[in-house]
């Protein structure tokens, strides 16, 4: 199978989806698996330099900024810890988007699912008092999983029952979750005693995720969530490629009509995929509140759910690719902090670079054209318009 796509106008639908499947199944092709993403990152970084220089800085300033970016992401043990801390929720949220991509769904709702998961986890974290940590931590994580799964179930159910497009419903559910968090943080159940601003009670010490490198220095924030996230990646990889359920997910993603004809339940798959995706996002939210923040504040998701889309695309919806992409984005985000502090270049540049990376990954033909590569890979096509 080659990566070149010859679209036929006779049957655009199955063909479009096959082109995406083709890409996914040709993961062993090193050009599409590693070279294109690497060149995409490089090109995005080069454009980043131009943008820095556009704001009146010299080339040297831009290089200083990138040096700070590198220092802040891998320059020290502290920096590596920060990178991995930032990567942890991105792995889980990225898996959430990736598993949906595999089944032909576009889960933009990771942000909302993450918020709901975080709220459930924080509630479990401060409500139960006096539990030993080996009971309390799993309980709080499970609460997060349930919260996210509920928020993922809604669009999955609506898609299966009524055909409501998941892109619209998940965008709307993101905003609803955001407002719901604002509201909940002002209720008696959540709001911290004696505070007027929306901030939740602090998670009990028994529910806080232990620091992995706390024995070296308490400032190293990387926590148990990282191991959970990597384990989740292994689980999703096993689920997708070693089980019948996973095969059904991918079959539905490749061609829902054919899958239905083969006797698979497309509607059940949609619901199940969104529930699993929501659960993963909820786990990401739980990891954030139990491992990093210890409390919930308005919009504590801070755009992780949107970065997750980029992570899933960059990782080609492959669980291990997602882990690699999440570590890269975690590094960009941790390094971006350093860049802002020591080189005085705003951290928002990082989201510009991330957006550029997605453009180049989604349109490999651009990269092929810039670097004169042969045989441009097919463009990513997952959605089939609102109607499907």
């Amino acid at each position: 199978m080659t990566t070149t796509q010859i679209p036929s106008t006779d049957s655009p639908e199955p063909n479009n989806s096959r082109s995406f499947m083709q890409q996914l199944t040709t993961g062993t092709d090193w050009k599409s698996a590693a070279l294109i993403p690497a060149l995409a990152v490089l090109t995005a970084l080069i454009i980043g330099v131009l943008i820095i220089m556009l704001t009146g800085s010299s080339f040297g300033d831009a290089m200083n900024a990138y040096w700070a970016l590198l220092q802040g992401s891998v320059g020290s043990l502290k920096a590596i810890s920060e990178t991995l801390t930032a990567a942890t929720p991105l792995i889980l949220a990225g898996l959430s988007v990736a598993i949906a991509f595999r089944a032909g769904l576009f889960n933009i709702g990771t942000e909302g699912q993450l918020l709901m998961g975080g709220m459930f986890a924080v509630w479990a974290g401060f409500t139960f008092i006096g539990l030993p940590f080996y009971v309390h931590i799993p309980l709080a994580l499970l609460a997060g999983v349930v919260g996210g799964a509920i928020w993922g179930f809604i669009p999955g159910f609506l898609k299966a029952k009524t055909g409501a497009h998941e892109v619209i419903t998940t965008i709307m559910l993101n905003y609803i979750a955001l407002r719901l968090v604002d509201f909940l943080l002002k209720t008696e159940i959540f709001q911290r005693e004696g505070r007027n601003d929306p901030v939740s009670k602090t998670v009990e010490a028994s529910a806080q995720l232990p620091l992995l490198l706390g024995w070296i220095s308490p400032g190293l924030r990387v926590h148990l969530g990282l191991i959970i996230a990597v384990a989740a990646a292994a689980f999703i990889h096993w689920l997708l490629f070693r089980t019948t359920t996973g095969f059904e997910f991918r079959a539905v993603g490749a061609n829902p009509k054919a899958a239905k004809y083969a006797g698979m339940s497309v509607t059940k798959t949609y619901v199940l995929v969104m529930v699993i995706g929501g659960a993963l996002a909820g786990l990401a939210g739980a990891g954030q509140v139990l491992g990093v923040l210890d409390r919930a504040t308005p919009g504590f998701s801070s755009g992780i759910g949107f970065d997750a889309i980029a992570v899933a695309l960059l990782g080609r919806s492959n669980p291990w690719g997602v882990v690699a992409a999440a570590v890269l984005f975690g590094g960009l985000s941790a390094g971006g902090q350093q860049m802002q502090v020591s080189a005085n270049v705003g951290i928002d540049l990082i989201s510009v670079i991330q957006a550029l990376i997605i453009i180049f990954v989604a349109a490999p033909a651009l990269i092929s054209a810039i670097y004169r590569l042969k045989a441009p890979a097919a463009s990513t096509q997952i959605s089939k318009g609102w109607g499907s």
Binding site: I108, A164, I176, K186, I309, A355, I382, W386
Partner: protein
């Protein structure tokens, strides 16, 4: 696989259609029952929760102090009117439940919701005075970027290109609008905002039409890119040079005579140039899409690009034009946020209005007029939330803020009637 005997086919399809019609009517009855119950529930809420808590009179102001023709404020006894409104809802619910309004169900349901919203307003303003007219005026103002955003989406999607980057186009327009407006004046700012939307749309068109990238991904990217770029430039440039972030604001222009009509005057004929622009664009795009050759070509490309191509229509060119026009409308809408209201740019100031515009497009059935009315509903809920925050009602503002999103989900889920997108929406096309 062997081919089935030819004579079996008609029988099978007959059976299938027979079943389907029966099922559909049963489903219709069920749907009528459910909507009837919903109306009953609304009546019950008004009757048992709102009415007992409403004492005194609710006063609605209908005129601004500086208007030439003054209308007396409308005062109604709160509790009595709530009884009446509950009875209206109950009557509608009973009729729907037992007889059904059939094809008019959607309209009746809309009326029922309107009555319910009015009941909430009566209840919330019991014993207080509430300026209805200022809320109506701000409804129009707040509906403007939403309606224009929806129009931007309609232009793109009628040609078969999904545009979920409306939010980014609004934000981009708002940013360049304020920068150019600060440097060279409001009109230049408005032009720059429009062009910015066009440039972003060009990116969408190139990637969608030439590179056949997934259009939803491009939309997501445009949103992230513009949010990042404008936030970066704000932090790096605008904060240090506040003179770039201080644009003149367009003032409301009162149209003589028409502007003096009570209620309607301030709502429609005493607004800023951007609001008038919205009315003109809605009308002209409706005309262009449905009454001109260009519109027919654009719609045919969005419905069936292959057929259009075989008739000699250049699919790529038509899509490019429609998407760029759509982007320009989106950029123009972005100017509302800066040049139309506050005259300065803040990070992420569009706050999801582009997505609401997207929702208005779907709710309005990919039709400019429909989208305008949907935008009015969203604008209304937006301004209701603002006004209720001022008069301190027992309803948390967060729930009012959720309303547009909930309405969208309900409508997309087909409870009120399924919207049909252009058939080739989101599908790349390549000539054979």
């Amino acid at each position: 696989m062997s081919t089935p005997p030819i004579d079996r086919e008609p029988i099978e399809s007959y059976e299938v259609t027979g079943k389907r019609t029966k099922e559909l009517t049963r489903r219709q009855i069920k749907k009528a029952r459910i909507t009837g119950i919903v109306m009953f529930a609304l009546a019950a809420i008004v009757m048992f929760f709102l009415a007992p808590a409403a004492a005194g009179t609710s006063t609605f102001g209908l005129s601004f102090a500086d208007e030439t023709i003054q209308l007396p404020p409308l005062s109604v006894p709160s509790q009595g009117s709530l009884w009446v409104l509950a009875m209206v809802l109950g009557f509608l619910g009973a009729t729907q439940f037992f007889r059904g309004f059939q094809s008019r169900t959607t309209v009746i349901l809309g009326i029922a919701f309107a009555v319910f919203v009015f009941s909430i307003m009566v209840w919330a303003t019991a014993g207080q005075e509430f300026s209805l007219i200022s809320m109506l005026v701000s409804t129009i103002a707040r509906a403007t970027p939403i309606a224009l955003g929806a129009l931007s989406g309609i232009l793109c999607e009628r040609s078969g290109v999904v545009n979920i980057g409306i939010e980014g186009m609004l934000l981009g327009g708002a940013f360049t609008g304020v920068v150019m407006g600060s440097l060279l004046g409001g009109w230049v700012g408005l032009l720059a905002a429009t062009l910015t939307g066009g440039v972003l749309a060009l990116l969408l068109a190139v990637l969608a039409v030439n590179f056949r990238v997934d259009q939803i991904i491009i939309g997501v990217v445009i949103n992230i890119l513009v949010l990042g770029l404008t936030s970066f430039l704000t932090a790096q440039v605008l904060v240090k040079n506040p003179q770039f972030n201080d644009a003149p604001i367009f003032q409301a222009i009162k149209i003589p005579i028409l502007g003096d009509i009570p209620i309607v005057g301030p709502m429609f004929f005493d607004q800023t140039i951007i609001v008038y622009g919205m009315f003109i664009l809605i009308a002209s795009v409706t005309f262009l899409l449905f009454r001109t050759r260009w519109g027919l070509r654009t719609r045919s490309v969005g419905e069936n690009p292959k057929a259009a191509d075989s008739l000699g229509i250049k699919v790529a060119k038509v899509r490019y034009l429609a998407v760029i026009y759509g982007g320009m409308v989106g950029g123009f809408a972005g100017a509302w946020f800066t040049l139309g209201t506050v005259g300065r740019f803040d990070e992420g100031m569009t706050g999801g209005r582009g997505f609401i515009g997207l929702a208005a497009m779907i709710v309005g059935g990919w039709n400019p007029i429909g989208a305008f009315f949907a935008a009015l509903i969203f604008g209304f809920s937006d301004s209701l939330q603002q006004k209720f925050a001022v008069i301190e009602t027992p309803i948390p503002g967060e729930f009012l803020a959720m309303a547009p999103y909930l309405v969208t989900i309900i409508i997309v889920a087909g409870l009120v009637g399924r919207a049909r997108p252009p058939a080739a929406d989101g599908q790349p096309y390549e000539k054979e």
